[in-house]
Point group: D2
């Protein structure tokens, strides 16, 4: 035969979202050239006997080197974050290019490109956070940036300095529809949260555990419903981020059943932690503060079911790393109330091992579904055409997992810069031992094998997922759109 | 026997929400003293043979002598409005004491009392419109005014100068819960409407018929859902006004099924007119402009079903009378776009004849249900203890209907000051021929028989309907309330 | 005045489903002649000061002097049962004329008439149990008997010797539609119960507590759904008997929401007892055996909610009295397995006091709702035009309740012949002290005041409730009916 | 490299349920040895440039050489049927081993094995039809036959000579649970259909078009609901066959949403034909008679949506070939009423081209979903481990499609023996040009290339899909199962 493999991953059990089979994988250059039995020798041979050979994970929701609204950077650089991701078996990240008010979106995007070019060890794309949907942003920058491969927007329905109101949300949905971009949304009712926070603080309920109460469950289901009503009217596909409640998942299921085109995700923290984790002495609970907050064991079950039913299609980390200091969790220097504590927790690295342990080692939903929600579906939804599966011609983004390795997670095992893991102490079975990105061995023998800055930007258009459903909603809405859009 | 009747209504067929029977009604002073066969003679004898003797209607949602946000009065005074109501068989109205921004609520209420005292020919209570929920309003005026018999609040989720945002809505719900007042709500999504209006106007869609499109159907269902989520969390009973869409009714039914305590109404315009009525040459369609706008024939069916199922408990007029001139429908003096035209239509007088014709003459749902939704349930919900039924001891508020009188509605038949009826030309069977309020004959022989200012204010506390459900919602919400309220 | 009252009930608080008011009630002959303040003296004066004057209860589902399929009579005669009913505040019963296979329906009905004429002390109607829907029964007897005032049929979807299969069910629905009769149904899946019983016995699970398991919860929801599908297709109104599960109530709510015309009831045993009551040593649990079996506390809550929402409109006793002997609970003389024990429990007398205590004394849903579900709605659904309320012209069927009387129920307090009460030991507040039927004092001072055989048969046609909805279901079904019916 | 390919399919575009990519496929012996770019030469080279290389279809529901209850064979032998299937791109069939009453199941299965061994040109498995669930069948034959690779049962809820009643259904579910076999069900309410047929015939509604009315829509939704209730109670996975109505699909969606483990399919006839096709002069409509009958355009839309949402996971043919003669459609020799006409239509060959045209050429749901519902999901559900995808190590069952070939279907193009196609006249784009089964070229150049009898039996255990959900249903049911199973 004519091929000469640069690398052959030999003797492993390969899985895609569709199939599980024993085969060697031959890599030429950056991509998969062949999958077969007894492939010819490669220049480099990787022994995968007894291992699982899986698509590298795609983490489609993570905050990297991101400037927060108060002007501080989160703990990770693109270097630290992507190294951490790679150690956890992830080979593609989609962090944010985060506009704040007053910023020109195109400059924001350019800035993040520079940061990523300098630091990333794996490939990346960007969602553009739209905090300031001015005419300039909407009519000039978004269309131009979608043209250059940034085909997903992110908006917040809460957070004082980030949120869009309903009119702005409609503006973004309408522009996205025209530009064929996906719209990702943090959906929680701002007023309800804000009102509750004030009341809690006024009554002296200041400990971290009150953070859970401050985001009343209804704030999520309400905002998801509102968002869906508007997206369905505009006929614009959306991705609902980090669903945390059974009620939220139920609203999503009902809407999908009516034919509305929408996607949704949850995160490991909502599958593996509960609000009880927040309830610790002093500000220890700060480690477990994220938004939406951790919920109940019954929510975990509801979210697993929603994954099984594909009401939720992906599980991302929402990695948001804050050190336990004034540059991180306590940006105001005052941690006397939960309101002064930054929301977010690290998770880039632990995401896949947590899910692998639950789904593969313990058998919940199984190996194909693990691949589907961690790699294949993120690739389909965000149109990363060369990522998310193991197939000929695709980028050789591959994680080799030892299904038998038993690990007890510890803070210091993580490679990000948050300095802790909310999952510390947890025992897991299964760990990625080698990780390749575009054929390059990135992680091996517990060590990083590539230079920073070697990751590449993945330009993409909106693809199938971002196309309007056109007509799936009723005729009345179509008439309305003919008047308004 | 010992009683001496002032008035006996003799030989009619009497109906309550529960029963239909043939009996005389003996009135002593202002109230019903006896109901019986062959009652002794009264000082005044009213021949009701061949007639239906029904509780006078309660119109629990109507705008009278109300100053709009732009500083103009609507067309009716308490005199004209209550006369019109009485001619239509209504004996109690609950209009609004309408606060605008910057106004002190207690003064607003005092002002409306003066207007009503001067003009009303039938009894009345007030809902207090809260457009400016300042601490003063919330903490001082509302509790004090509820104490003096004003136990219902009205808020708007839309309209630029009236709407409360979500935090204010929560404030009002929390105060109402403490004061044991009902909260009535105009529930439409403001942002969606506002955004759509701008788009429609920008595209030249300015005719009255675009008013329907400007209030997208989803604006109603969305706002109802949002409202219910918050009211359920606070555990505060609400009344959802003028439900116009099948989707809105479905949200209400689902919420009631979950045990949430809420009430809802629709209006005759949503049962008898459709958005096609808006589509007339020039600004003729202005006559049919109201908010929410008229909808579809399929919505009419859905609303009738919701009435049958008691998902909607009352049907009010939402009487909002505007003359077809610069003081009325065209307040800016410019009617070139639907946005410049005032929303609202008269309906105090036609409400009962329209419903009687449909429900009694044509048989849809029947006579008892007619009494229930037009009189008994409004009395129960708004706690008008002496109104809404024909029973011993209750106020003698009675309308005597000729079930066989055939009428073709005409603009000039109406006694309000709007100058037109949106139902003109409609043929109805059944009309009230005599109307008594607290034993006084108010309407007889087509003429008004009492002086203006003889109606009385009905002080009331919140009663059963305004009591929190306490525990009907889940434990999680109860914990939340223990922290926040 | 011209009336001379035979009886005046003076000074009580009267309640209907619509109103509560203080008034005297004047009775002339058998009916209510006047309701008023300070009525003239009656020949007989009944002091009701401090008392509640309520419509006598209607128990629309009870088994009296009924021959069971095995040829044995249940414990009560019309005399004992109606006396017991009257002591509990009930003034109308609708027991069954129970056809068994091989019996001519018209003879069955004639036989029950004889029994009732001889024994009843209060008024009665009959539901006709159709166990043998032969052409003769369907085409001759049912139409003829409906003509003579027997306008409701009862069928069983389970019980070996009583059940109709799906084709027979359709036959009955079709005949009922033509005759304008209501169809009442015991809806449980026979095959599932039968299969489960065999399995339980084969595994030695023979104690009474396994009776609950033998009627799997799904047997009810399934049969209700099947019944509704068929009734909706035929467009025949139905009454679903003794709903016991949350799932069953949910199916009913959903169907009503789709516009299907159906009624449903539950019984006190499902509101006040649970399957734990069955779990007693030996066969003691036999006292609590009924079908459907007792369920869970969570079902009680669901059923109360369904009552509040009018998904269930009435609460009947399903009185089925068996003594704890070989003529009653143990008809085979062998009580070694739950299968050998008769199903049913007495409840005619305790029904109203139990509901009064919960609804009025403890305040759950209130006095008007108590009247509605125990008297007014049964009268409307079964078209007992002169019963079920306190209104002029109606039969003077009245129960006077002492709301303050505290009672501890005991077996020996009951006047039926079952010999025990499943509610023995329960403390209640509120008890009927005097009971009138058609103006006759039936119960007073704890004693029976009338002779047996003085109750009368109430002939009735199907009325409003039994009318097809005609068109409420979709067009497709209407086409189907045009082919088939 | 070490492999020597027997066949290389070169230059095509390959698709799995997960991925679409350009690659060569190398086959060694019966299975896929390699997938890659520029693979070495094979002994046989197949040019697939410009073609789609897809997994051969799996038709998991088809009737082949099946003896009907009246003792007649359907039109196809294993030879004709599997040839027809192969021409249409299908490489695996799962027909039935059909027990009739009085037959010993193990003998039935042995007989069908003989027929298939003699005739099949592609691989096959069997579902065992259980028409006679005697103890012998349940306790001996089913467990033994599951052991030997027959891990799916089929039962009928309707058809006089095939149906199981509810108790038998429970028996089958319980045995299947123990044996770990899938239970496939024809779910329609027998009594309703039977009753309707009698009524239609009695009223002279005898034309084929009344066949649609004879299976009232409710018969499907009802039976599906009943089946699900019982399967959920037993905790036994089921496959619901040939869903035809929107209502049926809705019941399935709701049950899946509650966590019940169930699968469902529809067939091309319900996606592409409507009941209007039945309405032809004389008995022409017989060609379009199948059960459930064809439905409405709105059902087609509902079923497509259900496929999109994975509420339905597969689309099978339900191939049931009857010639238009006394041995086929008119078994009684009398076709004067629809009741005398056999139900079923051919579809093995047209299934994939119809779906390809709609899904790939016209773009509805796309190529990956086409592969998923026609090959991958049937393989997963029925545990055909080596079938249903293109992956290394799997059987080389491959269909090469020319996406541009335009075809007008004609009766004589079909290779089965029914003699007609219900889709004749339909224009399609896309057709399979070469079909391989286990590496053997079966169809090429419009000709059959293999001998009859070369297909092989696929033994399989129940696999993942047939495993009980264990605990997905509520605790109550688990307790019940602990008593009963």
């Amino acid at each position: 035969m004519s091929e000469v493999y640069d690398t052959v991953i030999r003797g492993g059990r390969v899985a895609t979202a569709s199939d599980v089979f024993d085969a060697d994988i031959g890599i030429v250059g950056e991509s998969i050239a062949a999958i077969g039995k007894r492939l010819a020798a490669g220049k480099r041979e990787v022994d995968a006997r007894g291992k699982l050979v899986l698509p590298g994970g795609i983490d489609s929701h993570c905050h990297i080197e991101q400037l927060s609204a108060n002007g501080k950077l989160n703990a990770d650089t693109f270097e630290s974050a992507t190294i951490s991701a790679a150690f956890g078996g992830t080979t593609t990240v989609i962090p944010f290019a985060a506009q704040h008010r007053g910023m020109r979106l195109r400059e924001v995007v350019a800035d993040y490109h520079k940061l990523a070019e300098r630091g990333a060890v794996i490939d990346y794309a960007f969602h553009m956070i739209i905090a300031n949907p001015t005419p300039e942003t909407l009519e000039e920058d978004i269309p131009a940036l979608v043209e250059t491969g940034h085909s997903s927007l992110k908006i917040f329905m809460t957070y004082d300095r980030l949120k869009v109101d309903d009119e702005e949300l409609l503006d973004v949905l309408a522009v996205a529809r025209k530009s064929r971009a996906m719209v990702c949304v943090h959906a929680e009712n701002h007023g309800l949260i804000s009102w509750t926070v004030k009341r809690l603080l006024a009554r002296g309920h200041t400990a971290p555990k009150f953070h859970a109460a401050s985001h009343a469950r209804a704030a999520e289901a309400e905002a998801i419903n509102r968002l869906i009503e508007m997206a369905a009217l505009i006929d614009q596909p959306i991705m609902i981020y980090h669903v945390s409640t059974a009620e939220g998942a139920a609203v999503i299921r009902a809407a999908r059943g009516r034919g509305i085109k929408l996607f949704a995700e949850t995160c490991p923290q909502y599958l593996f932690l509960t609000e009880d984790d927040l309830d610790r002495p002093g500000v220890e609970g700060a480690k477990w503060m994220c938004s939406p907050p951790l919920r109940l064991a019954s929510d975990q079950e509801a979210l697993w079911r929603a994954i099984a039913l594909s009401d939720l299609q992906t599980v991302s980390s929402d990695h948001a790393p804050y050190r336990l200091d004034a540059d991180g969790k306590y940006p105001s220097g005052d941690a006397s109330t939960f309101k002064e504590i930054a929301n977010g927790m690290p998770g880039l690295e632990a995401r896949l091992p947590l899910l692998f342990d639950a789904m593969v080692s313990q058998g919940r939903l199984g190996l194909r579904k693990f691949v589907e929600i961690t790699a294949t579906m993120p690739a389909h939804i965000y149109n990363l055409a060369r990522k998310g599966s193991i197939a000929v011609g695709m980028d050789a983004d591959i994680a080799i997992w030892d299904p038998d390795r038993a690990i007890t997670l510890e803070d210091r095992m993580m490679h990000d810069r948050a300095g802790y893991s909310p999952y510390a102490g947890r025992k897991l079975r299964g760990w990625p031992t080698q990780v390749l990105s575009r054929g390059r061995m990135v992680i091996e023998g517990g060590a990083l094998k590539v230079d920073k800055g070697t990751g590449k930007f993945l330009a993409r258009d909106g693809g199938e997922a971002a196309k309007p459903a056109q007509g799936a909603t009723n005729d009345r809405a179509a008439t309305w759109r003919s008047y308004v859009l």
